[in-house]
């Protein structure tokens, strides 16, 4: 029976589709709630940040990755472990700046944008802005302030999706007042 034999593959596909469809419904709802694309981008970024600050705990618990010694190691962990774990894709890490403080994640395919087309009146929408927020929030919890933005986006006509990540500074751990 065709239904039964396809059950396991269908189930896996359904899961990623559930997430993709839910994200799409979320963005659609935000577009209805807010007047302009910039505001929606900001909201997605903010939500992503809230997700990231919690997701990092889940990630560290499940991946048993130790402390990264430098930004290059961080980049590798993000691409090969984190993206794989949560989005099922492994972006490539390229375009390092000479100072070693900036790199690109190149995604051949972005699971968030399956089935998605940007309508003409939303040309300023950075659909996957949530990801920027998640990365910023998660890294802030491990004492790294970073700037994350989309340099290329397949939804806006580019060949690949490119996320540019820049290290800003190390965040000192807060020591409560009165401690020696």
């Amino acid at each position: 029976m065709s239904r039964q034999s396809n059950r396991t593959t269908d189930s896996k596909k359904m899961n990623s589709e559930l997430f993709t469809l839910t994200y799409g419904a979320l963005v659609t709802q935000l577009c209805k709630d807010y007047e302009n694309d910039e505001e929606v981008n900001k909201q997605l970024d903010k939500m992503g940040y809230n997700i990231g600050v919690r997701l990092i705990e889940d990630f560290l618990a499940r991946s048993s990755v130790g402390r990264c010694h430098d930004f290059r190691e961080t980049a590798d962990v993000i691409a090969k472990v984190a993206f794989k774990m949560y989005l099922g894709v492994t972006p490539s890490v390229t375009n390092w700046s000479p100072a070693g403080d900036e790199f690109s994640l190149i995604l051949e395919s972005n699971p968030l944008v399956d089935f998605v087309e940007l309508p003409d009146n939303h040309s300023n929408l950075v659909y996957s802005s949530l990801l920027c927020g998640v990365l910023k929030g998660a890294l802030e919890m491990v004492q790294m302030a970073v700037d994350v933005r989309f340099a290329q986006d397949t939804l806006r006509g580019d060949n690949v999706t490119e996320i540019r990540m820049k290290f800003i500074k190390r965040i000192e751990e807060n020591v409560p007042a009165g401690d020696e």
Partner: protein, 147 residues
């Protein structure tokens, strides 16, 4: 598992940003349910009748989305169905503490929309509501609307 996790976080965060958003969540669920059922039933044969559709929702659909089947399906054979999930996955991640219980309706609202959307694209118009009996068990009530 991690997909459900992400989903959880996304819904939670959306919920925190917007005050009274139960109907928005239900609408989001509706859109998602419509999309999912379209993809899922692309190659399945036609359903015999309404009960067949509900069984599909309880078994195949619920398993694909929540990794388990509905535990109990009751009907009065006059268009009302009650679906009982004794360990509803979106609720198991909420701690049992009282301050979190207030969020339970929001997760249920999304799922009600999901079911309503799925049914809608199978040609069944309905109203879906939910109630939590004892965490994490909950019941979804489906009232078929004659078109």
């Amino acid at each position: 598992m991690s997909q459900c996790c992400m989903l959880n976080y996304v819904v939670k965060c959306f919920v925190q940003e917007n005050g009274r958003c139960v109907s928005k969540l239900e609408n989001m669920g509706f859109r998602v349910g419509q999309g999912l059922i379209e993809r899922f039933t692309k190659d399945t044969p036609r359903f015999k009748d309404e009960l067949d559709v509900m069984k599909f929702i309880c078994k195949d659909f619920w398993t694909s989305v929540f990794k388990k089947q509905i535990d109990n399906l009751r009907t009065n054979h006059q268009g009302i169905y009650v679906l009982q999930d004794n360990k509803f996955r979106l609720l198991t991640q909420l701690s049992a503490g009282k301050q979190h219980l207030e969020h339970a309706p929001k997760f249920l609202a999304f799922t009600c929309g999901l079911v309503r959307g799925a049914l809608s694209n199978l040609g069944v118009k309905s109203i879906v509501t939910a109630e939590v009996s004892v965490m994490p068990a909950c019941k979804f009530q489906v009232m078929i609307q004659k078109m």
